[in-house]
């Protein structure tokens, strides 16, 4: 009786979410896997079945895809250490009650609250060669020789966009870490202090282990975010992604294939590959971070 009651409860609790999710999310997304097997312009209902041809072309004959993927990895490769080092440093400082902590937190999170479109437009003016904030700043401190058209130069275009992405999202990670740190009982730090631990030691031996689950969450989120990045890059580079595809990422490429080049089936195949890659990266990082959660 009790058992049946419980089963009914489970069904009742899950049903709304499962139904909505299945119909309005999984069903359209699953269709994507199916569409990936076709040559389809995405302009009418005419499709031609081509099997795995799209995947073969993508993985074996498409240098732009690999270039785009490598740019996503640059996003991840730069963001990850910055988020872990700067993010943890700042959130640790804020959690230890520095002066103005709550104000800083509010400020840092704010970029995350603005629309991506607005952020992108704002920053493309920061990087403007002639009147942008950055070059004017360099000029003001006498480093004018380094002033350049940041978004046009092959060597600076991608890093410039990565910087915006970090500027935009770092606050999120800081608040996330901070939430975790604040849930660590102060008595733990007091005990560490009694043992004569330095800041670094208590950070290393108290904060990090107790924060582990949150760190995992942050890393997964970062992986998803950097491999899925689209809006910022798209608006900053006007969707053109620069000479020689300098800022092309998987999704900007997907977007162009699907919507400009009417290569919808192929674009969908790219989407499927991107999905699998993100899943793979997420699983790998989970595996790497596997560790027994510390209970307290």
């Amino acid at each position: 009786m009790r058992k049946r009651d419980q089963q009914l409860t489970i069904i009742a609790f899950l049903a709304p979410a499962v139904i909505l999710y299945a119909i309005f999310f999984l069903f359209p997304m699953a269709q994507a896997f199916y569409i990936a097997l076709f040559r389809w312009r995405g302009l009418s209902t005419n499709k031609e079945f081509v099997g795995l041809q799209n995947f073969r072309t993508l993985l074996l004959e498409d240098p732009i895809f690999w270039k785009a993927l490598s740019h996503n990895l640059v996003f991840l490769g730069i963001s990850l250490p910055v988020v872990l080092i700067v993010g943890l440093f700042v959130s640790y400082a804020l959690s230890r009650k520095v002066w103005g902590a709550s104000m800083y937190r509010a400020v840092y999170l704010f970029p995350n609250m603005i629309s991506v479109v607005a952020v992108a437009v704002l920053w493309s003016f920061v990087y403007n060669m002639q009147f942008g904030l950055l070059n004017s700043f360099l000029k003001a401190i006498g480093l004018e020789r380094y002033a350049t058209g940041w978004l046009g130069e092959p060597s600076t275009a991608l890093p410039a966009v990565v910087v915006v992405s970090i500027w935009y999202s770092l606050g999120f990670y800081i608040v996330l870490f901070l939430a975790g740190m604040q849930s660590i009982p102060t008595s733990f730090y007091e005990a560490a202090a009694i043992d004569g631990a330095t800041h670094w030691q208590s950070f290393r031996h108290v904060t990090i282990p107790l924060l582990w689950e949150i760190l995992k969450l942050g890393v997964i989120y970062l992986v998803i975010h950097t491999l899925n990045i689209f809006g910022l890059v798209y608006v900053i580079t006007c969707g053109q992604c620069g000479p020689n595809y300098h800022t092309e990422t998987m999704l900007t490429y997907l977007y162009r294939l699907a919507f400009t080049e009417s290569n919808y089936g192929y674009a969908t195949a790219l989407g499927v590959v991107a999905f699998l890659l993100i899943l793979g990266f997420a699983l790998i990082s989970l595996r790497l971070m596997k560790r027994e959660a510390v209970e307290f």
Partner: protein
Amino acid sequence: MGIKRGGSQNKLKKILILIPVEVILIAYAIIVVYPMIWLISVSLKTSYEIFTNPWLPTLKPQWQNFIDAWQRAEIGRCFFNSVIVTSISMFFILLIGSIAAYALARFVFRGREIVHTAFISGMMFPVFLGIVPLYLLLSRLNMLDNYFGLITAYVAFSLSFTIFVLTGFFKTLPYELAEAGLIDGCSHFSVFWRIMLPLAKPGLITAGIFNFFGIWNEYPLALVIISSNELRTLPLGIANLLMVEHYETNWGVLFAGLVIVMIPTLIVYLFFQRQITEGLTAGALKG
């Protein structure tokens, strides 16, 4: 603490550590805030002045920019639309998401892992991959160009993240309480509603905040689902303004539009800031 060891020396050391830390924190705050202050300053200039005098505050502020932006993007109506869409979506996301997350975290049953994985993996899916199929589906159900369709899509698309966050929170809750409630004769739902949900408040707040801003700023889904100008949400309105001004080369108006959009966001944000703090404190007290 209690034990004193070279008190004044310790204090000095503390200050020596604190000063560089404060400097770094302030520098970071400036990097975040300064572009926005610059934005406000250029939003009061003509395009000509933006190019010729990007730095100093203008002597002839162009308040007209704000009037133009307000009127052209119909910010007032867009704002109202966004409030309605976002708040209704949030309500359903949190309600549906939390009961599902509770079931996934609390009970052991066959197929649990599959359901959980299905939800979580949704986070990794590029959104616009499903946009055309979704459009066809909504049009078959007559859910295009109205809020019902948009909200349904938002709820469905946000469940992944919400369930991901909330399952984590529910897992850490002490279930002895729930058992006690059941023995007392409460139904599963009232145990969830009266006992477990209040305990998961920090999780709800975390999920709620990120969903709020996610939906508040959402663009691609709104673009394909909404086509009437009267139903435009804020991101649609501002994107429209941006693109029109880009063709007409009115950067001043464009920047004024950005400022107008940012101000309510800032106010909402400052208002929620207290909620966040409370939620986090509650989180710190749990367990």
